[in-house]
Amino acid sequence: MKYLSEFRDPEVVEHYLEELHKVATRPWTIMEICGGQTHSLVKNGLLNLLPKQITMVHGPGCPVCVTPLNLIDKAVYLAEEKGVILCSFGDMIRVPGSSRSLLEAKANGADVRILYSPLEAVKIAQEQPERQVVFFAVGFETTAPANALSVLHARRLGLTNYSILASHVLVPPAMEAVINDGEAQIQGFLAAGHVCTIMGLEEYEPIVQRYHIPMVVTGFEPVDLLQGILMTVKQLENGEAKLENQYSRVVKANGNPEARKVIEQVFEVSDREWRGIGNIPLSGWEVKASLAEFDANRKFSISIAKASECADCIAGQVLKGIKKPFECSQFGKGCTPITPLGAPMVSSEGACAAYYHFAEADAV
């Protein structure tokens, strides 16, 4: 197939950059919502190549970063006190809880496993019927179909030893929270390509209209990002506010209806606490009451006191695009990927980790 590596072609990148330099005449602030896009922008050095009029601010789209501290403590409790096989994605395992991370719990002897897919957790539950298996299911809309599918697989297999600890968050309410917060002064959005792969475009049109803000659904390769930024800047320069789709090779207007059917079978919309941001109404999904036996929260009736966050960490302001990671007093000093104080330094989608690993010192 053509058009895979072409999205990283330096010559095409250069053409897009030239065009951006021609088009951008005034200062514009654009937020990329997704942490994967932040990662790609920083890793590929694109932030240094953009015209100086364009400021990219990094959004809250890092699922690991916004998973509440209390939920991590619950996962640690399940692994240590209830003796479950606690499975999750690699990033989630390393985020510090109030006393320790899941990785530290594993070092202390708890059965914590890093998996690539929630479907693997169902296989573990099938193979070890005498053990309870819990998948710590974090993610945005992109990951919800896989997590929901694991529940449906477990139900079809008649498993009684599988459940998920769900921390599912939704992009549109977070976008509105960032706009209404106002401090970051966002003028345009790159919407998250893979979230829209599932959800489609429909739910973004009202936001574009209500706030008269340009939005371009964008992919993750260097050429994708530059085209997305170019399309956004063109709208801004022309005083337009439209919803456009740069990532049409993957994102269809109606998203993926099969995936949404699976989500609807398992999850229902709920209020959700976002770490560093606070409670956002109707901004998450939780397991439906009718599937309570697959919901680790209900199954194990866990009650853990809320712990306070690390006072030195400014993760909340970083997630809302108000501050850059290097504005934190602890960045690269008290807080590194090996000894993180906050989640954005842990996750590869976190802005702090991206800057730490890839940004040049002179650029920060």
């Binding site: 999205f7 994605f89 990951t143 993926n256």
Partner: protein, 106 residues
């Protein structure tokens, strides 16, 4: 602060990343109820569920996220990103040539 010489044992692939791969073969698993594929990513083969992409067939490129294929990559649409650039180039040329034709205002 140096980043290039930081050796990190951790996987730096973002979780939300979905990677395009080519479907090598398709088989039914879970007692014949679930369509699963072997998907080629460069030199690596991984298994992915095709439940969300019922139309996917052998040879298609699918976008796989945490073990589940979520979209079939559309080559025709991919071409548009490169045509977009050509269109801009053509427009620029048009503008430039029209400026050449324009009578000198002085």
């Amino acid at each position: 602060m140096s980043k290039t010489n930081v050796s990190t044992p951790f996987n730096l692939t973002p979780m939300c990343l979905a990677i395009p791969g080519k479907i090598k073969s398709i088989e039914f698993q879970y007692d014949g109820t679930v369509r699963m594929a072997k998907v080629l990513f460069g030199g690596i083969t991984k298994e992915a569920s095709l439940e969300m992409v019922p139309d996917a067939k052998e040879g298609d490129y699918v976008l796989v996220h945490v073990g589940v294929a979520i979209s079939i990559v559309d080559e025709e649409e991919a071409r548009k990103t490169f045509e977009y650039l050509e269109e801009i180039g053509e427009i620029d040329e048009l503008v430039e040539s029209s400026q050449l034709d324009r009578p000198n205002p002085l």
